[in-house]
Structure formats: C-alpha cells, structure tokens
C-alpha cells in the first residue's frame, strides 16, 4: 500500500473524528523557535530571518521562527528578544519547540531559570517589526508553553576558548562564556520541567589543546553534554579509555558528576563527524537538531 499525503491526511482526519485523540491538535498552534549563538547575523525581531542558520527554505520543525539576538552583547542584555518570542508563540493555546545553538543554550536556559515562573501576558503570535506581539486579550499565565528544547553544541557550561582569551576579551558575550561565569549565571537545573536534549559534536581539532576532552572545536563535552558543576571537565566518547565518558541520556557522567536536571544527551558524536559550525547551511552539530526537530517538532 502506498501512502500518499492526501490519503494519509484523510485517514488521520478520520481517526480524529473517531476520537483517537488527534482532535486535540486542532485547538493549538505549535511553533519551532530557533535561538542562535555567538555572532548572530539575523535581523533582531525578524522571526523569518534565518541568516544565522542557513536557507530559510530548509525544513526545521513546524512553523519555524528565528529568534535572533545579536550574539555579541551579554546574555542578560539580549534576553528580552528571547522572552518576547516566547511570549509571542508560547502562550495561550500555542505551544513551542525550542532549538538553540551554542550560546543560544545560555539564552533559553537563562530565560527559563530566571523568568520561567513569571507571569506572562498571553500574546497573539503576530509580531510587530521589533518581534513583539500584541496581547491576545485572554489574560495571563505562569511561564511559557514549551514541549522540549533541542540544544546543539550548547555553551551553557562555557568554553575554555573564552577562558584562554582566544576570543576578543572586550566582547561582552565572551565574558559570559567564561566557564566560571556561564555556570554561575543561573541555576541550570531549573528548566521548569522541560527536557533539554543535548547534541554534542566531537570533530574538533584546532583547539583540542585548549578544550578539555572531546570538543566540536568551540565547545567541549562538559558543556555540550550538560555536565553540571561550577567549572568544566574532561569528558569523551566511550571509546576513550583515558578520559571519563560522557554518558547518553540523563545519567551522571563517568566519574560521578551529574548532568543538569532535565538534561539528556541525545547525541554524542562517536564518529567525530560534527563540528560546531552551522556554516550558513544548518551544518555541523546543528544538522543533528534539525533532524530531531523535523522528526519531533510537529
């Protein structure tokens, strides 16, 4: 039997009519929010500008929106752009999937930890030129509606490249990316119960002398794998006998250090095939969360 789209859709609608639970999809709109990392590149407030990521035509989850921040100034000073987008698309009857790259991990983690329990006005999902949506007129709610968060090359634990002065020290975001600062910035365990699926690349070579353990050339496994603690550490693929393993899932890393609560390593780059860079084409470790978003953000 062949599954043509129209056939499938009719069948699904029939199933919904039969009360199989599909009807619930109709009452809400789901969105896929993409939060960039360092360097930025997309126009702030323009949720259709995917310049940071790659071709806007690429499928990357249902109703995808680009949550652009400048990728240069501090996380806290730019976080309003993330909160604005969460207010827009993730309140009322609307729900969101969130994908973030690199320092975008800090942005969504910071928003949830600091403001995830705050009172939000329900918005109408129609942003103005600044990326701010109008009120839906349906009141307020606590926090946002988020189904899960996909992270690629997450920098919530910082990067030793910032520690080593490999980046311009006058750049405000570089200060945030210092490992001690990133990890002290907010309680990373507070995600409001939302799962963070971590995707960690290991195709790093250039900075392997500075970045401990396995890395994607910018972020080491201790951060991209969501390993907790006030400082980084050396974590590797299971094939490396001389370095603690970054375990899959939510289990503590080898050596006993726990992962941040609700953080699960979904992908560990055993093949050392993925580096950090989106490369203007949804590339590197970002390609892994593209796949996951297309698979699950619907």
């Amino acid at each position: 039997m062949k599954f043509k789209a129209s056939t499938w859709r009719k069948a699904a609608l029939a199933a919904a009519a039969a009360g199989l639970g599909i009807a619930a999809l109709a009452h809400a709109t789901n969105y896929s929010l993409w939060i960039n990392g360092r360097t930025g590149g997309g126009q702030l407030g323009n949720h259709a500008d995917f310049s940071y990521w790659g071709p806007a035509s690429t499928a990357a989850g249902i109703n995808k929106k680009s949550v652009n921040w400048d990728g240069y100034n501090s996380v806290s000073s730019q976080n309003y752009l993330v909160r604005d987008a969460l207010d827009c698309y993730c309140t009322g009857n609307n729900w969101c999937y969130v994908a973030a790259h690199s320092a975008g991990n800090l942005q969504i983690g910071y928003a949830l930890s600091m403001y995830g329990g705050s009172t939000r006005t329900k918005k109408n999902a129609s942003p103005n030129s600044g990326g701010v949506c109008g009120d839906a007129g349906t009141g307020t709610q606590t926090g946002w509606n988020i189904k899960f968060v996909d992270i690629a090359g997450g920098a919530a634990g910082g990067s030793e490249l910032a520690n080593a002065g490999s980046w311009a020290l006058s750049e405000p975001l570089v200060g945030d990316l210092k490992t001690a600062t990133s990890r002290a910035m907010y309680n990373h365990n507070t995600t409001r119960g939302t799962m963070f699926y971590m995707h960690a690349g290991a195709k790093g070579t250039l900075y392997s002398g500075i970045l401990p353990g396995q890395d994607d050339e910018v972020i080491a496994y201790h951060s991209s794998g969501g390993v907790s603690g006030s400082s980084g550490g050396s974590y590797c693929n299971a094939s490396d006998w001389f370095c603690n393993d970054l375990t899959l899932g939510t289990a503590a890393a080898e050596g006993g250090r726990t992962k941040w609560t609700n953080h699960s390593v979904k992908f560990r780059d055993n093949g050392e095939s993925y580096n950090h860079y989106a490369n203007g084409n949804w590339g590197g470790i970002v390609s892994r969360i593209v796949a996951d978003m297309v698979a699950n953000a619907q």
């Binding site: 599954f3 639970g21 599909i22 407030g45 259709a48 806007a56 989850g61 189904k147 002065g165």
Partner: protein
C-alpha cells in the same frame, strides 16, 4: 587525547540525513514549512539600529567562522524532496517515525510528571548538586597559554576564585599554581597582575587599574607560604572599586620555566545592596509544608531571586529552596517553602538546618543583571522537630502543571493513535 582517529566514521552525517529525510515526510504531511509566509518585507528595517553595526558582527565573530571547508556538503533540495516522497510512500519508515514520536512524547510526559511532584521552588538536593555549596571556590585547570597561541606542552595552570558574584565589603581570594602532566608542582612566577573594570563593547575603563600582589609568601591572602600556590585577595570596596557596579577583571601574566602565559578571573561586584536582611526568621507549618520567612527591608523594588539550602540533622544536603518574585519597597517577608511531599517522600532527620542563603535583585535587559543582597553564610536557622504526619503527601498542584500534563498527555495519545493507524494500514 581527544580527536584520535577512530577509523572511518563518515556514515554519521549520512545517518543524520537519512533521519532528516525520513521524518521530513511526516512533517510535510501535516504542515508545509511556513518560511516566506511571514511578511518580512514589512519589518522595520531600522530595527538593526538596536544593535551594533552588522559589519562588526561579522568581524568580531571571525573566530567562529568555519575552518573546515567541505565539512558538510550542501543538501540538494530536489534530492530532499525526492527522498521525502519515497519515505512518505514507505510504510516501514512511517512506522519507525511514529514509533520514535511515541517514545519521545512518553518520555517527556513521564519526566514532567515525576519532576513536578514538588514545586520548582522546593527541590531535592540531588537535583541541584552544583547549587548546594555556593560559597566554595571555583576551581579550574587549563593549559598554560597566551591568547591566540598554542598552549605550552606539559604545563597546566590551576586556578581558583572564591566567588563570582561579590557584594559590599566581601573580598575575593584568587589562587594560581602550575603543575606538570603528572600533577607535580612547577615553579610559577606571576610577572604582572592587575584588577580593573575592563573595556567592554568599545567603552573604556572608568577606573585606574590596581596591582594585585600575587605571592607565595603567606601575605595578602596567601594561605601557606612556599606551597607553590600564589594568591592574592581583592577587596573591591577598599581597593578602588567602591561605587563600581559591574565586572572587575583580574588579569595575570604568568611564567613557568621559560614559557609565558595569561589567565584572568572575572567577578561581578555590587557595592550597595538593593535590600537588606532586617533580622528575624520564623518558621511555620502551613498547608502541609514547612515555610521559612525571612524579613527584609527592600530599597529597590523588582524581581528578587533568593535561594537557601536545607541540610538534615546529619548535615546531609536535603533540599534547595528558592523564591523568585516581585517585591515592592519597604519591609517584606521572603517565604522559602519546603514542600510537604518532599519531606514525606525523603523522610529527613529533624531538625533541619537552613543555611547559605543568597539573593539578588534581577535586573532586566542590562549588564550586570543583578544587584546582590548581603550573603547569609553558614547556618541561618535550625528548625523545630516535626513528625512527618504534619506534612502533606499531596503532589504539587497548579494551573501550570495541569496545563503541561494535559498537553503532554494529548501529544502521547496523538502519537499513539498515528502509530496504530500506520500499523493497521500495513496489515495485508
């Protein structure tokens, strides 16, 4: 050690692409990609004035640009479409897709249900291992290096800083030492060390830098003379940073044998507290929970984030309790809730100790993003002894939790229904 060759592992990307293509079909069945539907042309082109010059964005981000040409080939959209069409016609692929969606939605629902038995402000200590001892120094280790250069072989630099966020009269001890790959101490010289408010984002320093007398002679904070660990203590309030609300950077220029290197520490200083503790802490069993009330005098209104740690009678970490809410000016009480079901489930030995309470005013959209309240170090309150029977075993209940469990539950039902339909369709 990392990045050693592991043999041909090229199929990683192929597998990812296959998954992408496989699942893409399912997605496109339900909703076409909305790119282009948003009226980008109507966007205010002046929006960019809100940020720095876009050209500088590109330049400053240079180090993040790809260095491996050809690391990923461009995906051919036409090929994608063909592959998606093939998958859409492939019942096995559809079954695989919906099976994993069922798995994902079930995992999310189950995790949320378990994670929200207690409110987010009252959590088991085991979930917050890195939050339970906030006043321990941050210890780090890295290779001796200069910015932009290869690190020196065989020389590792160990550092510690007493804290990252600093308030009022608090001081911060910094230490640095050098070891070889086996952990043996190496002779280290701090050739120069300064503390300053660094130029950031094109803005110059507002204060003169001060010298930081790192030494291994048991002076200025160095705890043990001659132990090869050099130390210095910074007192922002008395060393030129009084009135400075923001970052202070301590920069060290190092020499180990004939190799040189650089390292730095950042701290964030609050000279004047936005609220002060006004004494008097009370506890009360209310609605089946144990609440602690801490009196404060709020000078600056806003959102306050306050966190306390709870140990059981044996001194074992038991819970992390927090407050995150708006406060107006004047005398207030901050309530830290120790949730009843958490007590019932974990059965801690009373009395409990509330210790190490810290708090700050969270400032929106600025840097630094917080103004610190004075830290309450060590024991703050020892509770009375209660029988567990006075606490409630009811799970946390809120509109937020109901909303999430409802939506997650519907996602599970929907995915299961789709999977079942696919399975039935595959039967001959």
């Amino acid at each position: 050690m990392p990045n050693k060759p592991l043999g041909p592992k090229g199929p990683g990307w192929i597998a990812a692409a296959a998954l992408l293509l496989a699942v893409g079909a399912g997605g496109t069945l339900w909703l076409a990609d909305d790119v282009g539907k948003t009226d980008a042309s109507s966007r205010d082109s002046t929006r960019n004035t809100l940020t720095r010059d876009s050209a500088s964005t590109t330049k400053s981000g240079g180090s993040l640009q790809p260095r491996h040409p050809g690391m990923m080939s461009s995906r051919d959209a036409a090929a994608d479409a063909r592959a998606e069409a093939e998958v859409a016609n492939n019942p096995q692929a559809q079954r695989a897709l919906w099976s994993q969606r069922v798995e994902r939605t079930e995992e999310i629902l189950e995790n949320y249900r378990n994670n929200t038995k207690y409110p987010f402000e009252s959590r088991p200590a085991r979930e917050n291992a890195d939050q339970m001892y906030p006043n321990r120094p941050v210890q780090e280790e890295g290779k001796l290096t200069n910015p932009g250069q290869k690190p020196a072989e065989g020389i590792r630099i160990r550092t510690s800083q007493e804290r990252v966020y600093v308030a009022g009269d608090e001081t911060v001890l910094f230490t640095v030492s050098a070891v070889d790959v086996d952990g043996n101490a190496l002779p280290l010289t701090v050739t120069r060390a300064i503390a300053h408010d660094p130029p950031l984002n094109g803005k110059p320093s507002k204060r003169n830098s001060i010298a930081m007398p790192f030494n291994d002679e048991g002076a200025n904070g160095d705890q043990v003379a001659g132990d090869t660990v050099a130390s210095a203590r910074l007192s922002p309030a008395t060393q030129g940073f009084a009135g400075h609300a923001g970052m202070i950077r301590v920069e060290l220029f190092l020499k180990v044998n004939e190799q040189t290197g650089f390292t730095f520490f950042d701290i964030f200083y609050t000279p004047d507290p936005p609220a002060v503790w006004s004494g008097g802490i009370r506890e009360a069993v209310e609605a089946g929970s144990l609440n602690f009330y801490l009196k404060v005098q709020v000078r600056d209104a806003g959102r306050y984030v306050v966190t306390g740690r709870i140990d059981d009678a044996k001194g074992q970490p038991f819970a992390l309790i927090s407050f995150n809410n708006e406060l107006s000016t004047g005398p207030k009480e901050i309530k830290l809730n120790l949730f009843g079901k958490l007590l019932v489930d974990e059965k801690p030995i009373f009395p409990l100790t509330l210790r190490d309470v810290d708090g700050f005013l969270l400032k929106e959209d600025t840097t630094p993003d917080r103004a610190l309240m004075p830290r309450l170090l060590g024991k703050v309150l020892i509770s009375r002894v209660y029988p567990l029977s006075v606490f409630s075993e009811a799970e946390w209940d809120s509109e937020e939790r109901t909303r999430y469990l409802g939506e997650y539950g519907r996602d599970v039902e929907s995915a299961r229904a789709h999977l079942e339909h696919v399975r039935r369709s595959m039967k001959p």
